[in-house]
Amino acid sequence: MIEQFVTNVLLIYELLRVLVSNIFNFDMVENKQRNIGWKTPWISGTDKGGYRAMKQAIWRVMLALPFLLLLGGCVERTAVLNPQGPVARMQYDLIMWSVGFMLFIIVVVFTLFAVFLIRYREKPENAGYEPPDEEGNTLLEVVWTAIPILIVAALAVPTVKATFALEKPPTENVKPITIHVTAANWKWIFSYPEENIETVNYVHIPAGVPVKFKLTSVGPMNSFWVPELGGQKYAMDGMETELILQADKPGSYMGRSANFSGEKFAHMEFEVVAQTGTDFRKWINEVKQTAPKLDEEKYTQILKPGLVGRMTFSNTHLQWIDHAKQNSHHGDGKPMKNDDQHDETMTNGHHHGE
C-alpha cells in the first residue's frame, strides 16, 4: 500500500517535472519568415534549438508515459489486461494482437512525420529552394492503400471468429449453469432458477464452469461488466440478452454497470465470488437453509429507486415476474401480477424447484 502510494507520487512528480521544465525551457523562437513580409518585433534571432528541444521533450513525455504507468504498479489493477477466465483471455489475446499492428502503424507514421519535419523545414540555407509541383505518386498511393487493407483483413478475421466464439460456452465438456440477472435502479439482482435462490449485489459462481448470465432490466438500460472475466453486455427492459462468462479459479472479481442509468449509477457495483464446486454447493445449501423467503411486497421495495446492501433469499422473483418479457409491468417500475407470464416462464424450461 505504501509502496503503491510512493510510486504514484513519483509518477505524478515525474510528469509534472518534465512538463514544467519543458514549458520554461521553451523560448518560443521561430525562423525568420523573410518571404511573407511581416514580422513581430519580439521574435528575435534565428535559433532553431528551441523547437528541437521542445519536440524532443514532448517525445520523451509521450514515450515515457506508458512506462511510467507500468512503473506505477498499475498492471495488476488493469482489469482488462489481467484476464481471469477463458472469455476474458480470448478478448485479451485479440486486444494484444491488435495492439501489435497499431504500434506498427504508429511507428511508421511517427517516423515519417519526424523525418519529414526535420528534413524539410524552412532553413536559411534553403531560402532559394522551390518545392516541386508534384501531384502525387500512383505507386506510393497504391502501397498505402493496400497495406491498411491487409491490416484490416488481419484484424477482421480473428475479430469475426472471436465474436462468434463468445456466443458459445468456452468449455464444452462442462454443463453450464444459468443465472438470471436483473438490473434495477441502482442494484443488481441475481436469480438462480435451478437452485431457486436469489442474491442482490453479489453473485457466487463455480470456477471452471461456464455461466450463462441472462440479462434484463427494470427501467433504464444498464451494462453488465466484469472486466477480469470478460466483456460486457446490455441489460434492457423487456429484453433478454445472454452473456457467457467463466472464471479459471476461485477468487473475487469486481463487476459494475457500464451504462449510465441515472443518479446513483456510479454505485452499481457487485462482487462475483468464484468458488470451487464443493464450496459453491455448500454455499447454495447454506442459503437454502438460512436465507429468508422473498415475497412480492419485499421485492417491490427492493425495486424502488435507491441503493441497497447485499441480500440473500431462498426463492426467486421469477416465480411471479420475469422482466425480460416485453411490457411485463407498468412504467413506474411496479411489478404487475400476471399468472400467464408465470406459466409461460415455466414452459420455457425455467425450473423453479418447487
Binding site: N8, L16, F26, M28, N31, Q33, I36, W38, I43, V61, L65, G72, V80, L81, A88, Q91, M102, V109, F110, L112, F113, L117, Y120, N126, Y129, P131, P132, D133, E134, E135, G136, E141, W144, I147, V152, A156, T159, T163, A165, E167, G219, M221, W225, G230, G231, Y234, M239, T241, M254, S257, A258, N259, F260, G262, E263, A266, N327, H329, H330, G333
Partner: protein, 648 residues
C-alpha cells in the same frame, strides 16, 4: 411545473452563474447604450445576410460555447480528481456531463466549422455570397436561439441529465421528470433545422456558384470537404429531426415510441440517434480534414499530394459513415453476424483515413515547412489523430469492444479524434483565416503558447484515460472509491485539463491583444496562400470580388501569382454588382422559435402557439416579399476597392 421550481436553486455555483448572467446582460446593455451602438448592432450584425459576418457570429458563439463546455469539463475533472469527492453531487455531475457533450458537439464544434465554412467557402470558389443569403441568416439565428434555449436550462428549469445520447427509457417521462430533457429535444430541434438549411444552402452554393473554370476537380480541398459534409448533413439531419420529434411527443404528449410500456421500443431511439450520430462525427471531422489540407499545403509551400485520392477518400469515408452506426452498441446483443458486419465496415474507414494521413505526410516531403501557429496545430493533428484512429480500430473489433465499451478507453479515443481532429482544426483555421476575417494577424508568440499549453495538456489529460478504461473505470461515474487504484491517473488527467484551460485563456487574451496591437494585414495574402480567398483584401469588401476571377487550375491564386503576378482588376471590367438586401426577419422569426420552444419545454402551450403564429406570419411575409436586392454602381465599387487596397 410549480413556480418555485422555475429557477434552479440550492447550488452556490448556480447562484454565482445567475449573478454573472445578470451582470453580463447589464454590462452589454450599458456598453451598447453608452456608445450608442444599438443601431450599429441592428444594421451591421442582427440583420446582415453577409456570409462573412454570419461566419464571424458563428465563431464568436462557438468560442463562448467552448468556454461553457470547457468549464463543464473542468468541473467534472475537479470532481474526479480524488475518490469520493463531494465537490459535485451525483445529479449535478450528471447534468454537467450531459451539457458538456451536447454543447461541445452541437454548439461548439458545429458552429465553429459552419462559421469557418461561411467565411471561407464563397471566397474560395470566387462567389459574392452564398446561394440563399436570407436562408443563411435564418440558419444562424435558429442555431443561436437553439443554443440559447439549451443554455438557459441550467438556471431556469434544470439541465438535461440523461447524457448527450439521451438513451431511453432513462430520458423518457418514466425516469426524467423535470423539463431538462424537454430542453434537449426542443433546443436541438431548433438549431438542427438551422443546420439542415445550412447543408442545403452550401450544397447549392458550391454546385452552382463556382467561378468560371473551377471544375469540381479544381476545387480547393476545404471546399470539397464542405460539399461532402453538406451531403452528409442533408441525409443525416432529417433522422435527428424525426428522432427528436418522436422524443418530444413522448415527453410532452405521452406517446409511447421509446417507452417501456405499451409496445414502446427504447432500442429504436439508440438506432435513430446513431444513424444520425455517426455521420454527425464525420460532419465535424471532414471539414477539419479540409482545413488541415489547406494549411499543410500552404505552409509546406507545396501542392497537396494526391488530390484525387484525397477527394476519393472523403467520398469513401462519407459513404461508410452511414453503415457503421451499430458499432456504438455492439453490446446490445444484436448477434455475432450483425456485429461482425458492422465491425468490418467500421474498420474499413481506417483505409481511406490512412490514405489521407499518408497524403498529408507526403505533402510535407520535399516541401519547405514554415512553423506558424496554424501549421503547428495542423502538424500536431497527425500524430495525435493517429493515436485516436488506431484506438478507434481497436474499438471497432466487436469481440474486443465488449471490454472497451463505455469505459474511459472509449472516452480517451473519441477525445483524441474530436480534439486532435476537430478542435485542432478549428484553432488552425482560426489562426489561418483570422487576417481574412478581421484584417489583422493573431499574435504568433501567444498563439504558440496556446498551442503548446493546450496540446501538451490535452495529451496529459486524455492519454491516461486509455489506461483508466482498461482498469475498469466507466464513463459518467460521478465518483469512485479509493481502493480501485484509479486516483493517480485521475490526478494526472486533471492537471492536463487545467493546462488546456490555461491554453484557452491565452487564446482569449491573444484575441484581445491582437485586436489592439496586432499586425495589420495590408496585402490580403499574409501567408503566401494558394486559394482564391487570399486574392481579396483583408477583410474583403462585402461583395468579395470586384470582378469574378477565372480559375485555371487547383490552387487558383497560386497559379495567378505565378503567371500574372497576382489577381489584377482592370477598372474598365467593372460592372454593377448585384447584392442581397439585409433583413431583420430571420432574427425575429428565430426569436419566435425561441418563444415557441420555451413554451413547449414548460408545456405552456398558449405561449408555444403564440410563437408558432409569429413563425407562420414570418413565412407568409417572406413568401409575398418582392425584394430582389440592390445593385452597387461602378463608381461606388471603384471607391471601395481603392479604400480596401489602401488598407481600411
Amino acid at each position: 411545473m410549480k413556480w418555485s421550481e422555475f429557477f434552479v436553486t440550492g447550488e452556490p455555483l448556480i447562484y454565482a452563474a445567475d449573478v454573472a448572467i445578470v451582470l453580463t446582460i447589464i454590462g452589454i446593455v450599458f456598453v451598447l447604450t453608452y456608445f450608442k451602438k444599438w443601431k450599429w448592432l441592428w444594421n451591421e450584425w442582427l440583420t446582415t445576410v453577409d456570409h462573412k459576418k454570419i461566419g464571424v457570429m458563428y465563431i464568436i458563439c462557438a468560442v463562448l460555447m467552448l468556454f461553457r463546455g470547457g468549464v463543464d469539463a473542468l468541473l467534472m475533472r475537479a470532481q474526479l480528481t480524488a475518490p469520493n469527492m463531494k465537490f459535485l453531487d451525483a445529479q449535478h455531475y450528471n447534468e454537467i456531463f450531459t451539457t458538456h457533450g451536447t454543447i461541445m458537439i452541437l454548439f461548439m464544434a458545429m458552429p465553429f466549422i459552419i462559421g469557418l465554412m461561411n467565411i471561407v467557402v464563397p471566397l474560395q470558389i470566387g462567389a459574392r455570397d452564398v446561394a440563399f443569403p436570407y436562408l443563411n441568416a435564418l440558419s444562424f439565428w435558429l442555431f443561436f436561439f437553439g443554443a440559447m434555449l439549451f443554455n438557459i436550462s441550467f438556471v431556469i428549469g434544470g439541465s438535461p441529465d440523461a447524457g448527450w445520447t439521451a438513451y431511453f427509457p432513462l430520458a423518457g417521462n418514466e425516469f426524467s421528470h423535470g423539463v431538462g430533457n424537454n430542453y434537449y429535444a426542443v433546443a436541438l430541434q431548433i438549431s438542427g433545422i438551422g443546420t439542415l438549411m445550412t447543408g442545403i444552402n452550401f450544397l447549392v452554393t458550391i454546385l452552382k456558384m463556382r467561378a468560371p473554370g473551377m471544375t469540381l476537380m479544381r476545387m480547393p480541398m476545404f471546399t470539397w470537404t464542405i460539399l461532402i459534409t453538406c451531403v452528409l448533413i442533408i441525409f443525416a439531419f432529417p433522422v435527428l429531426t424525426v428522432a427528436l420529434a418522436l422524443m418530444t411527443f413522448d415527453r410532452l404528449f405521452d406517446t409511447q415510441f421509446f417507452t417501456m410500456a405499451n409496445g414502446g421500443m427504447s432500442m429504436l431511439w439508440a438506432n435513430l440517434f446513431w444513424i444520425w450520430g455517426h455521420p454527425e462525427v464525420y460532419i465535424v471531422i471532414l471539414p477539419a480534414f479540409g482545413i488541415f489540407s489547406e494549411v499543410v499545403s500552404t505552409f509546406a509551400q507545396k501542392r497537396l499530394f494526391g488530390y484525387k485520392a484525397m477527394v476519393g477518400s472523403i467520398v469513401g469515408i462519407a459513404f461508410l459513415s452511414f453503415i457503421v452506426w451499430v458499432h456504438h452498441f455492439f453490446t446490445m446483443g444484436a448477434g455475432p453476424a450483425v456485429n461482425s458486419a458492422f465491425s468490418i465496415t467500421t474498420m474499413a474507414i481506417a483505409i481511406p483515413t490512412g490514405v489521407k494521413i499518408f497524403n498529408w505526410l507526403f505533402t510535407l516531403r520535399k516541401g519547405k515547412i514554415r512553423f506558424t501557429t496554424a501549421m503547428l496545430w495542423s502538424l500536431a493533428f497527425i500524430p495525435n489523430f493517429v493515436i485516436g484512429g488506431v484506438t478507434g480500430v481497436m474499438l471497432a473489433m466487436a469481440a474486443a469492444d465488449y471490454q472497451y465499451h463505455n469505459s474511459y478507453f472509449l472516452i480517451a479515443h473519441f477525445h483524441y479524434v474530436l480534439i486532435a481532429g476537430t478542435v485542432f482544426a478549428c484553432f488552425a483555421g482560426l489562426h489561418y483565416w483570422y487576417p481574412k476575417m478581421f484584417g489583422h494577424i493573431l499574435n504568433e508568440r501567444l498563439g504558440k503558447w496556446t498551442f503548446w499549453l493546450f496540446m501538451i495538456g490535452f495529451n496529459i489529460c486524455f492519454f491516461p484515460m486509455y489506461f483508466l478504461g482498461l482498469m475498469g473505470m466507466t464513463r459518467r461515474m460521478y465518483t469512485y472509491s479509493a481502493g480501485l487504484g484509479w486516483t493517480p491517473l485521475n490526478v494526472v488527467a486533471t492537471v492536463g485539463a487545467v493546462l488546456m484551460g490555461i491554453g484557452f485563456i491565452v487564446l482569449c487574451y491573444n484575441i484581445y491583444y491582437s485586436a489592439r496591437y496586432g499586425e495589420r494585414d495590408m496585402t490580403g495574402d499574409p501567408w503566401n496562400g494558394r486559394t482564391l480567398e487570399w486574392a481579396t483584401a483583408s477583410p474583403p469588401v462585402h461583395y468579395n470580388f470586384p470582378v469574378t476571377p477565372v480559375v485555371e487550375d487547383v490552387d487558383a491564386y497560386w497559379v495567378m501569382k505565378k503567371k500574372y503576378g497576382g489577381f489584377h482588376v482592370k477598372e474598365e471590367d467593372l460592372k454593377p454588382i448585384h447584392m442581397p438586401s439585409n433583413s431583420g426577419r430571420p432574427f425575429w422569426m428565430s426569436v419566435a422559435f425561441f418563444v415557441a420552444g420555451f413554451g413547449l419545454v414548460f408545456k405552456w402551450f398558449a405561449l408555444a402557439i403564440v410563437g408558432a403564429l409569429f413563425i407562420v406570419i414570418g413565412l407568409i411575409l417572406r413568401s409575398f416579399e418582392d425584394d430582389d436586392g440592390y445593385h452597387i454602381p461602378v463608381d461606388e465599387i471603384k471607391r471601395m476597392e481603392r479604400a480596401a487596397r489602401k488598407g481600411a
